[in-house]
Amino acid sequence: MLAVAEVTPSWYLVLGALLFSAGAVGLLVRRNPLVMFMCVELMLNAVTLTFVTFSRMLNDVHGMTVVVFVLVVAAAEVVVGLGIIVALLRKQPTATADDLSILKG
């Protein structure tokens, strides 16, 4: 029988840090605006995981309430961002992040 390590809250925090940096790297590396948006979602999710973990650690429900707000803000952000991207890609189907410098349309 293997020695069973106990899952402490800091494991979740480390995982959150890993996901956050993965999202940050993806945001900096990718050029497709849609994939960049997905990387932002990745970072937001890492933060929500951290919030829930702290909520458990401090035995306080406010951390979970904040997650609900993060979810709403993420939804609003995606709706507006995708609107911009739709307007951009309709003009120029091969647009990358570099072409976003001409936002006026």
């Binding site: 900096l28 909520s55 458990r56 429900v61 709403v72 939804a75 507006v80």
Partner: protein, 217 residues
């Protein structure tokens, strides 16, 4: 033992999905990898007894946000692969790796400096925001949302309305007769037209002058 296995599997799904988002050339595959990550995080929420948030995570993120991504990808037909071998800015990859490792290092140092303990104040025993045993988390989140965070909750509805209006404005096709003229641009154009007309009025004169000079010569 069960908790460990659940954590390891969910963490592997999360990280695998995250790497998939970054390295997949096709945006549709990246969106599907994102679903894997979101699902893994929902499992981790359940492991931490945040059942309501896990359900919301699956419904809102996997069910709404990723579907929105896929709709945009497929309706616009921009799901062609991106050539990842091109590095648009020289040294971008290396800089991104340094930034990523830096963020990771800083967060881990911050975590290690408190030896994995949360430094914030614990909820006071018996207070409304303490997570009580045997009370459903949806009940507690609801109570917290509609008492302590009521104003923020109401403002959220305004945010959503603004987002919807913004999205409709942005993605609607502008018809020619609907196009609003910018007064500055119109004034600029009128000025340019007047200048062109003046130039046109002057040039026949200069032509006749030239003709007259030729005649004199």
């Amino acid at each position: 033992m069960v908790e460990l296995v659940v954590f390891l599997i969910a963490a592997a799904i999360c990280l695998g999905g995250a790497i998939g988002v970054i390295v997949n050339r096709n945006p549709v595959h990246a969106a599907l990898s994102l679903v894997a990550t979101l699902f893994g995080i929902a499992v981790l929420f359940i492991a931490q007894e945040a059942h309501f948030l896990a359900a919301v995570q699956v419904i809102v993120y996997a069910g709404a946000i990723v579907i929105l991504f896929l709709f945009v990808l497929m309706l616009l037909g921009v799901d062609r692969s991106e050539d990842l071998t091109i590095e648009p800015i020289k040294g971008q990859r290396i800089t991104a790796a340094i930034v990523g490792v830096g963020i990771l290092g800083l967060t881990l140092i911050a975590l290690a400096s408190t030896s994995g303990e949360a430094t914030g104040a614990r909820a006071e025993p018996g207070s409304a925001n303490e997570i009580a045993e045997g009370v459903a988390d949806i009940e507690q989140i609801g109570e917290s949302l509609f008492t302590d965070h009521l104003f923020a909750f109401e403002i959220t509805s305004v945010l959503l309305v603004i987002a919807i209006v913004g999205a409709v404005m942005m993605s609607r096709k502008v018809r020619r007769e609907d196009r609003v003229e910018d007064p500055l641009v119109a004034a600029h154009q009128a000025e340019a037209e007047a200048r062109a007309a003046a130039a046109a009025a002057v040039s026949p004169d200069s032509d006749t002058h030239a003709d007259a000079e030729e005649v004199e010569a």
